[in-house]
Amino acid sequence: MSDVSGMPAAKGPLIYRQSIWTRVTHWIWAICLFFLLLTGLQIFNAHPALYIGQESGFEYENAILEIGAFNTDAGPRGRTTIFGQTFDTTGVLGMSGAAERPVFTAFPGAVTIPSYRDLGTGRVVHFFFGWIFVATMLVWFVASFINGHIRRDIVPGPSDIKGVPRDVAEHATLRFKHGRSYGPLQKLAYFSVFFILFPLIVATGLTMSPGINAAAPWMLDLFGGRQTARTIHFIVMVLLVAFFIIHIAMVLLAGPFNELRSMITGWYRASPGTPSIEGDKP
């Protein structure tokens, strides 16, 4: 598709921004995270509570989140208790579905795979995509280290840190600069995902494996116990969902055609005034 503005001077150069490694790993991750999230919620539904410590308190209290259904005088209601505060979440958490045929699962079937209660299948699919997710992470780290993507676009430098206030102001007024690399907030977001959230969700997932616990008991100490690791795994999931929502919003606000093209073909239309270099297209 060609630019229809008719003013070539107002157009920045078309730059080759995303390498094949970045594009392929991006879409494999997108598929993996979709299945990992929906099967993860299925697995959570098998015991919809999160605890702090080595074990789950049944005769004492160490839960920070509990989702369930309870009988009241007005019939069953869905309830969510978080840090001791109880909320009525009927219709979404604890109890959902049609009024005449309610479903008493923590997360509703609309966001679990399978849609019905099936922990065994949830685990099969979760671990399958878990392996692909981790393998893709290894490929991305090696490729991005070698081709300079990490150094150039991901790790924020001193100038990025200084540029944060200005970048915040620009985002607040929905004015986006499309440069050769990422802006300060983009770098901080991607750095957090690749260097904090991704490693953390994999490590806390492994800490839930009794086999891995035997091989690497230090991981239990690092995360403060198996149940704390499970809680962190869940919190990182929530943060990744938040990242996904902002990510999609930013793509839509910054120009979905240009952003999608760069993640499919690699070619990205930079802002007017971006200096051209060799290899750019007009």
């Binding site: 080595q54 308190g57 049944f58 849609s115 922990l119 099969v124 699919v125 009794p210 035997a214 499970r230």
Partner: protein, 262 residues
């Protein structure tokens, strides 16, 4: 200004499209729940990979973490079968398991049986370990019993044996065509692991019925469903397919991974 509205519309339409995608996700992938599905069978290979990688990564003798006595803060949560109702079990239970026998058979040099009294008089091991249920919860308790390895040696495991099948008394599921009895299996590495014990004691008391009396096997580096309760026979085999639905255990037959170390 008009640009902002366009963006707003973009957001609104994308939210609708996004929620549509999620709703479409709800039962579009239910076919994966069918055990005969070819895609599922491919995905199940990930569990084989997990098993092989963990066997390479974790030494055969590497112990599961043992906790201190102060970390036992509650009773052991019973789960699954808590009161078997098969006549064989109820008969033994009525006599306080005086006539109970644990049998080791199959690919062994000699079939052997032990009474509960004999098992209690064998060298004992106590361990405070964390029990992890596949559902997601954990519970720390002290288990006392006699290691399985020496008992297998007494029977003389033949070199062609690859697995132990653990047969249990409890009718975990009742169907129109009769009771389905619980069973499990493990490889010989888990069977000979130093913490794999035939437990008869829990938290310094006699193992209660709700937790698997008279004998519950502990395989400490695996999930709870690999710790068969109400155990009566250990059969050494080279193939798991003749038992149950052929997946090596009651829960594996229901679609859970056989290894259970994750």
């Amino acid at each position: 200004m008009s640009r902002l509205i366009t963006r707003r519309n973009f957001l609104r339409s994308s939210a609708i499209a996004g929620s549509g995608l999620v709703l479409a996700g709800c039962n579009q992938f239910d076919f994966l729940g069918s055990k005969e599905n070819q895609v599922r069978k491919v995905m199940e290979q990930a569990n084989v990979l997990t098993y092989q990688v963990q066997r390479q990564l974790i030494g055969a003798q590497t112990l599961a973490r043992e906790y201190s006595a102060s970390e036992i803060r509650q009773g052991m949560k019973p789960n699954g079968s808590v009161e078997p109702s098969t006549p064989e079990y109820m008969f033994l239970q009525a006599q306080n398991f005086a006539n109970y026998k644990l049998t080791v058979k199959g690919m062994v040099e000699r079939e052997v049986s032990f009474s509960l009294e004999e098992l209690r008089n064998m060298p004992a091991r106590s361990q405070i370990t964390r029990h992890d249920c596949v559902e997601g919860w954990s519970c720390i308790a002290k288990w006392t019993g006699t290691p399985l390895g020496p008992i297998l040696d007494m029977a003389g495991v033949k070199s062609e044996a690859r697995f132990c099948v653990y047969h249990c008394f409890d009718n975990i599921q009742r169907t129109l065509s009769g009771d389905i009895l619980y069973y499990e299996s493990s490889d010989l590495i888990d069977a000979y692991h130093p913490q794999t014990i035939l437990s008869y004691g829990l938290n310094d008391q006699v193992l209660p019925v709700s937790n698997g009396a008279p004998i519950r096997l502990r395989i400490e580096r695996a999930l709870g469903y690999k710790q068969p309760k109400y155990l009566h026979t250990i059969e050494l085999v080279d193939d798991l397919s003749p038992f149950g639905q052929g997946k090596g255990g009651y829960w594996p037959d229901q679609g859970y991974d056989w290894y259970g170390g994750i």
